[in-house]
Symmetry: D3
Subunit: 212 residues, 6 copies
């Protein structure tokens, strides 16, 4: 018989969410989270239970689901691939239909190096001084997007394109500008004044990005 109080105890536990790891300087070779408790707190598997499969990720062999912008991405942080836990790295596969767009976005906690696996990609970023650095990348080229800066990509070739992005954080975060700004309920007057738009224009943008 499980005592009622223990169930309560566990249920409270299981609702929580842990994120206490930090990127720099691990103190162990690795720390594969014990999945049965990963929603509670970080506890590493006993080394003897760790297997080679804990360090291999096989989920980006193919593109993910495409959105209306002709873009698909599979971000692989330590949440998805626990072997990355405490190791300070993660990655993403991004696929583009012809004209597909990766909207202006940034990663609050990482620099990204983006390698073009296939296709021709217009790719760029904006620095703190509002200078844009953008160019069409070809297969085999790599562009670096400095930590925390807004960047964007668009397939400008006539066939699908693919990028492999790597990050120096196990969980770089992702802020997509259009939905973060227009899809989140920031006070209308503030947005009007910030973008110099009237209430109808803001309402139109909001309608596109506020989740229905």
């Amino acid at each position: 018989m499980i005592p009622f109080q223990m169930i309560v105890f566990l249920v409270i536990f299981l609702q929580s969410y842990t994120g206490l790891a930090y990127d720099p300087d691990p103190v162990n070779d690795y720390c594969i989270p014990r999945t049965e408790f990963s929603s509670i707190f970080l506890s590493c598997k006993n080394t003897s239970l760790v297997t080679v499969d804990d360090f291999i990720y096989s989920g980006i062999k193919d593109p993910g689901n495409f959105k209306h912008t002709g873009f698909s991405s599979i971000p692989v942080s330590s949440t998805v691939f626990p072997g990355l836990n405490t190791l300070g790295m993660s990655f993403v596969r991004a696929d583009f239909d012809v004209d597909g767009v990766n909207v202006p976005h940034f990663h609050p906690r990482a620099t990204e190096t983006a390698f073009v696996l296939e296709g021709k990609i217009y790719s760029g970023f904006v620095d703190s001084g509002n200078r844009v650095f953008a160019k069409v990348l070809e297969k085999g080229e790599v562009m670096v997007f400095p930590k925390g800066l807004v960047h964007f990509q668009m397939n400008v070739g006539d066939s699908p394109a693919t990028i492999l992005g790597s990050f120096n954080s196990e969980n770089p975060g992702l802020v997509k500008i259009p939905s973060a700004v227009f899809g989140t309920g920031i006070k209308e007057e503030l947005l009007m004044k910030a973008f110099g738009l009237n209430d109808k224009e803001i309402a139109k943008l909001r309608k596109k990005f506020v989740p229905q």
Copy 2:
């Protein structure tokens, strides 16, 4: 007589710009840059030449110049206040006219704590999951904006308002969303697709934010 080549040597030097310091864990008590070479490379003043005034900043007693959004800010990084060099902190004074707006922006390299010196400020941020956390702050209240996340403020009181923001980087950086996205020459088609706007609407936004 100064040899011509030496002048060339110095001129080349003086055009450069240095940024090699890092925030965490200084190895000296402080490092006041030698101003005559600060545009060349980082060289600390001999301790005997350092004075108490190197550690004091007096330039935020009054508000800065106001912009059309009814907002004024004086960011004080280690560039402006060299005493902050290598110490991992900086700050900003922000003043708001009635209805004044600090547009959605973020700091790529720092968390911010914002203390309300005067007035009533609608203040908030958006997390990676597109949740907005916003509320009206009163005099004496403090809000924390986590590292790298988009945040914004608006004076919703009926008198001027002032905020003192502090950062855990000597140079947190500043990316203002409207001008970074619409004022920097990102390819028009990409912006149209990203924001679901037509070419006229994008052109209108660009006209507002591209420096003339």
Copy 3:
């Protein structure tokens, strides 16, 4: 029925105290500790349970309690304001009666920037080479106290004074020299030799600082 052993288990847990977070480079946007377990271990609230109030602190609108040195301080670390957890910042409000003194002290884990909200404050620090840097600050001025160095303040104006200090650690620590040295039971002979005082003089100092 709660099994006896489980109560024991919980009680043992609840007596413990956790401090496993580190200042640099969080791997999540934020981590609001679950208060019911904060005395046990760090477990972040599920994002859906986080509210804007988790990021706002309202407890420094007014001065704290004054001590006999005419000084009052309200330090706000992540223990007091859980929203700061993992974000690498904290702050303090310090109030001074006329002639009030903030005794020589240091923060083992942070640099401090101190902004004068009100009054005239004699303010300074001592570096590793035993040089003192001190000056009277006026309203609106800011002084930086480098990481780990001894600093001190005194109200030298003729009205109350207030300072807002900011730190680049979520828990900077505080070591007050007089009580740390004379109020903690360090061997008497050692203190006599270190300060060149006789046993009566040390005893007098101890009497002042050892908690009764």
Copy 4:
């Protein structure tokens, strides 16, 4: 006329080699080293002189030169691709002939994520507890090699194979075990005792790895 002493001054300078940057937490958006002085000290280009090409690397479209082990690699650190400077990332392209081998090696300053661009690669690492984690990876799979641990790869397919490795340091370093141990002049008696080999066996190994 260039004074002789100045030439001496410059020549001494130009022989030196700089390495003062650190991986974590840059204080600028980026720092493109001024190439004319990069052998002297780190000085960032004036932002106005930075171009998009500073952030793009085009040198790994094709494999590098193959060695006798049927292996070729092009490591791209901040030395080769200055745009990576201060950003804490770098990468490598590795190509394998059939049966080609990447000998046991490690990177003293980085974790690596290795993405299989083509082929079937036996890939693994050894942890501090002498456990080996190895498996055959297929195209599109990713393996993580934790910071500082010995790892190795071999093409076990019947066609050439290629890997893209990413690192969370701008200069991860590379120590190849066979040449580091047997090709560097470590005292013979020490190696004999360490590996349980006699002098002829050590001499044979040395002959292979000591540069002629």
Copy 5:
């Protein structure tokens, strides 16, 4: 009566192994792990339960057990001496019989400073460029082994020798080259090709280092 499920719960817990601390920048003065849970997760003892003995280690007054290489070592990480937890340091005592050898090895997470307590020790390391730096150290001399580089030692005097090594990580890790490479089951063909040895030679080496 202890419910069965709770036992299961605890047993699962107790098999796990925690390693979530990081070296840089603690947020508390110290964190002595509660030993009854240290195999589960990191929870600091209540300060009132901490005693001076938590900060003192007495286990390296004498040498440890000697191996067949005439070498003995007692590594003291935070696992063995919990007072080091979160403080970013650890140490090792190493003793050498005459001709005793500390085989080529490295620490993936730390620099080491080695102080000769007694004897004459041939001591050196190999850098990323395959240069060896080695010399005979005498009593009272100190050598630094940079982070992650292969190093080695041998008693070349005619009496026992002792070294005290210090590390800038609470858990530096240890990879001994001979056993990591030949004692762990790396594919035979890979080792043959990597070291230019035939199958018999590899088998001989393996026999020495694979645990029986």
Copy 6:
């Protein structure tokens, strides 16, 4: 002929003092400063000019000069031993006459592990909560002093004693409480109020610690 201006240029340079390195995460194996420029800025020697002697320190075989407190110390930071540069470690030899005292002090940038080479040493530290942790250490014992906390030592045996301290910073800094507080010219009224002493008592203390 050396042009006058160049001499001026060099003289200005040579008066400066550099301290731009940071402890965590070097990006090179090592960086031996070029001594001819170390007073100007940090420039690493070309690797080919580095020798094994750059990594060895021989200056602590014997005690340093004793002070009136019966104490002698030789701190070895990267300034004294350039091989430590960028490697995040340093060390100190401390010798005690009978009754010799190492006055209450702290290191603003490092944790210390202190190993007793000889003698019986009363040794302790005070935490942020004003608890003292002190005990007599014997030969071969090690005590850890957490980062930034006040600690002290006294030879309580009847023969000389020696300690080897190690730090996890290449330049930990040193603040000796008696001289930092009473020997630096902090305003008299502030010290009177802070320590509860009258003007004569403060004057007496000052006389002892202000350099004559």
